[in-house]
């Protein structure tokens, strides 16, 4: 029981962060606007949650310029993918 609780990750307690990680786990990358549409959240809200996942080193981003407009591609880091998978496994164990 103790081990299971250890794998439950506080970083993914929040619904929006949970959704961001779910989307990034199955996509190589998603840009800011695609994420925003998928999650149906405001710019500021999405940015702050992405920021907090970045500081944990779960999400990385790459800035590109397309037609002089900046275009940010977000992807999950290996560390983030691993942590998220452990989190899902822990939830599944708890429910069993």
């Amino acid at each position: 029981m103790k081990n299971i609780l250890k794998d439950l990750n506080k970083a993914f307690e929040n619904k929006i962060r949970l959704a961001i990680m779910s989307a990034l786990l199955v996509n190589d990358y998603l840009d800011f606007n695609s994420l925003k549409e998928l999650l149906d959240v405001t710019d500021g809200n999405l940015a702050s949650h992405l920021k907090s996942l970045e500081t944990k080193n779960y999400v990385s981003f790459k800035k590109e310029f397309l037609n002089r407009k900046s275009h940010t591609k977000y992807s999950a880091t290996e560390e983030g993918k691993l942590a998220f998978k452990l989190h899902i496994k822990a939830i599944e164990k708890l429910l069993n």
Partner: protein, 206 residues
Amino acid sequence: MNQEKYLQDLAEIKEMMNRSSRFISLSGLSGVSAGIFALIGAYAAYETVYNNQNYFDYRHAYITQESLVQLVLIAALTLAGAIGTGIFFTTRESKKRKQKIWDTQSKRLLINLAIPLFTGGFLSLILIREGLIGLVAPMTLIFYGLALVNASKYTLGELRSLGILEIILGLVGCVFIGYGLVFWAIGFGILHIAYGLVMHFKYQQA
């Protein structure tokens, strides 16, 4: 322990993974309409090629310069009808689901569908030019099947088994060249209608 919350979390994770990687607004009705257009097209082609011959016997196709033009016209009209109604029903479905029709998911789906499809299209044109008309119908089935298998990763998973069936029909059709159009009508007509109906009733949103 808050079981409810975790159950809901799991459901949301699954839903987001699906929605972010697959285009799920594909309408079953677009399959049905594509199938109907295919049957009409196949019938028209039949009349053109096998003029005055017994329907279910093994026949030879008689294709003249004139009937070839007519066949290309039939093919173009069939394709336009199928794609047009497909876009119509799928747009309607995505509006119901409040999904955008032109987003990352649908673009990815179309690109992966297009690569094998265009390969098959160009190969068919080459075969016609070389006079190997009999191979055109089974080749379109094979490449359409490959396109579906390839694209199924980015939309409803059922397309994968539909694609495999089309490939099998195409391969069998290569052996029985004389029945090419019959196999073509089964693959593009009847299979589309059957799969379309199944998917319509399975995924349709009230």
